[in-house]
């Protein structure tokens, strides 16, 4: 019943369960992996000079994966509403938390676990959204 719904060209009525949602998940997974790789590389302090840091293989692959994730993210925006895709991208926090814990061995504070559960509830609400029946 929105007074703004008469803009047919810009409507992207796909749900998160379609190809757009899958691409979104892969995109966010790539960006999260890039974060973890960059974090891993930065914590090593291989060569404290800026040149050595930038032309490190892990830094470069991290940046490359990040670029790939961003490209896929922009593709997703052609399929999904931004007001759906952007909140759903918060799943990146969950992926980074899990990766930081299991790959980098960083401790996860209890409060962060609570936050992660709250984020998951929100994403669950979006995932099971019914596009046709909203009002």
């Amino acid at each position: 019943m929105g007074d703004r719904s008469e803009i047919p060209d810009q409507r992207t009525p796909e749900s998160l369960r379609g190809i757009g949602g899958t691409a979104l998940f892969v995109s966010v997974l790539l960006c999260a992996s890039a974060h973890l790789i960059l974090r891993h590389a930065a914590s090593d302090k291989v060569g404290s000079d800026l040149f050595g840091l930038f032309f490190n293989l892990r830094i470069l692959s991290g940046l490359g994966i990040y670029g790939l994730g961003t490209a896929l993210w922009i593709y997703c925006l052609g399929k999904l509403d931004l007001s759906l895709a952007f909140p759903a991208s918060a799943i990146q926090f969950i992926i980074v938390f899990v990766g930081a814990k299991w790959i980098l061995g960083e401790p996860i504070p209890a409060l962060r676990l609570v936050g992660a559960i709250i984020i998951l509830i929100g994403i669950g609400l979006l995932f099971f959204e019914r596009r046709e029946l909203d009002a």
């Binding site: 593709y75 952007f86 984020i119 998951l120």
Partner: protein, 119 residues
Amino acid sequence: MPEILIAFASILMVAVSQLLFKSAMSDTRRLAENRGIGKIVFHPKIVLGLVLNLASALCWIVALRKLQISFLYPMLSINYLLVPLGAWWLFGERLSKRRCIAVCVICLGVFVSLLAGTS
């Protein structure tokens, strides 16, 4: 205190870049002749969005030098409200009741996550 303004600018730039990306993809959907990948990559809105993302990262680093992480990081959750509101306001995306609730829940979750472990 200009640092807080720099931090806020950094956050706003991310929101604007997302709106620009979305707007660019809507443009390319509408104009059939614009479907080539080159036309998307070099779309002015995409380029501007990428530049804003880079500027945002630089501003963030500047802000981090002066302000406390425990104060700065939770601010990032604002975008989870701002971006959907912007999409509703600028593109007329429909915010169902369920989506509004989900957006608020996710914003809260991000806030709580970033509150933790910065001591």
